[in-house]
Symmetry: D2
Subunit: 161 residues, 4 copies
């Protein structure tokens, strides 16, 4: 089973700039994470952008939808910042693609040791291989249909609505 992974940035891939104490993007850590997980799935990773999801524009979302539409892969995993992950899920759902698309993110950058990223990546890969066509968000070990999820900003958890 072949899976396409699309990287868009988010906390997942943020790093700490030790010269000025800010967080920034350099490269995606997805290949390193898959290697750590000894993942032997046939995956094809493509970095579409590396942005904080609060900075993601309508054009960025259009680019993601276009990319999902034009590639042959039927199973797509998207890494995304958690703040607007539900918006991108909605935009993807409106495109009604005959595909299984799972979006996931992280609350703590992968490079920060205590990250939830590796766990989320594992569960999202589990979901993308087994769920029927549709658009889902995978966080907190759970999966949510695109129109049944919201991030609780005071707890940082994703909840069903």
């Amino acid at each position: 089973m072949s899976i396409r992974i699309l990287v868009t940035g988010g906390t997942f891939d943020k790093e700490y700039n030790e010269l000025n104490g800010t967080l920034f993007f350099k490269d995606t850590h997805l290949p390193e994470m898959l290697k750590l997980g000894r993942c032997k799935l046939q995956v094809d990773i493509r970095t579409l952008m590396l942005v904080d999801s609060l900075d993601m524009t309508d054009e960025d979302r259009k680019l993601i939808v276009d990319h999902c539409s034009k590639i042959a892969d039927e199973r797509i995993l998207i890494t995304h910042g958690t703040d607007t992950i539900d918006q991108t899920a909605r935009t993807l759902a409106e495109a009604k693609l005959p595909k299984t698309i799972v979006l996931t993110g992280a609350m703590i950058p992968y490079k920060f040791g205590s990250s939830d990223g590796l766990f989320n990546l594992g569960s999202a890969l589990g979901f993308v291989q087994t769920l029927p066509h549709g658009v889902y968000v995978a966080m907190n070990g759970r999966y949510f249909l695109w129109n049944r999820v919201r991030k609780n900003r005071s707890t940082g958890e994703f909840e069903e609505i």
Copy 2:
């Protein structure tokens, strides 16, 4: 959705004894791992044993099957040493329980920093929520039917047969 997690030991939970340089079991790290993954699934963890899977006996396997049979949960995740995980999967399959049972393990102990355990736990939780009744092994980001899997001892990878 409620999930039962049964702990049996394996590399997952091994620790390093700094006094004599050997590996040993103290407690399971599953609660700590689920916390790191910010898992919000309703899970119930039970430690059945903490053994190296090369030391697992027929009686141990009978105990695992009996436990899976008598509990009400329909979705069960079992952490297990990788060396004989396929044998336990076979024993469970022969019991023909109307449940989804996913076994997973790790190549590197969780406490050793560079472990695949968190990734495997994530993917196994993904599979156990979505796969139909049956017995499966989840490793390397993939899932395998109990009778279609073997560990390649020279590479450490799980392969479909």
Copy 3:
């Protein structure tokens, strides 16, 4: 040999707030770090403040000097943000205390896995036990006299002047 450790904050003790993506102080990690290092020195840790060294005021520095002056310990280790560590060292030197005072910091927070903090703490403890009375900065495995050091802000390294 008894050593006093004074905590003032700095990158050493910063943590990542997963709800808003900023860095903040909660508690010092010094006890945890000393435990990880299996340190058996007789140390007494006191948190004087938890501030970014760019926010450290003249009053904060006065408080540090007063504290160093009034305690009985002759060997004092101070954890400090790296941006103004040389200023605090100068203020301490001007007080001409008959003590060995070593200031150290970190470029990466201890909680971020890839931190230099544990290394710096080890070397600073080495220096504070062996150097004659005076005020020193310990970074990059080296020690510098208070009036012979500056942080190179483009490389993040400490240099002798």
Copy 4:
């Protein structure tokens, strides 16, 4: 100040063989550790051997002494297994070299995340730059003269005798 680092193996450099669950040596992690510590000392690392110190022979010790004797460096740091670190220290002391030689080790392998190695390396580098000529063991944040130290095998700590 130029420092020679001699690597002899020990827990410091052990790795976990995920195929058979044993510990083994591949390469030294000293360069990686110094990089993590952002160490800017002028050091020259030489791997003399990679052995468990329980397997170290008289010939191995002779090789270490010969090497310390013939190199020009006056300050030498030796990484060593903790079980016989005091024996090698004694052999070195008997050679009465006009040098400062500090031996250090680790209770937990560097690769296992929760290692004391980085802390010990930092403190040993502090001691080797500041102590007078002699042979010392640096562990637990402390330094010990070669003839005043023993490892307490029930606690894993080094004690003054």
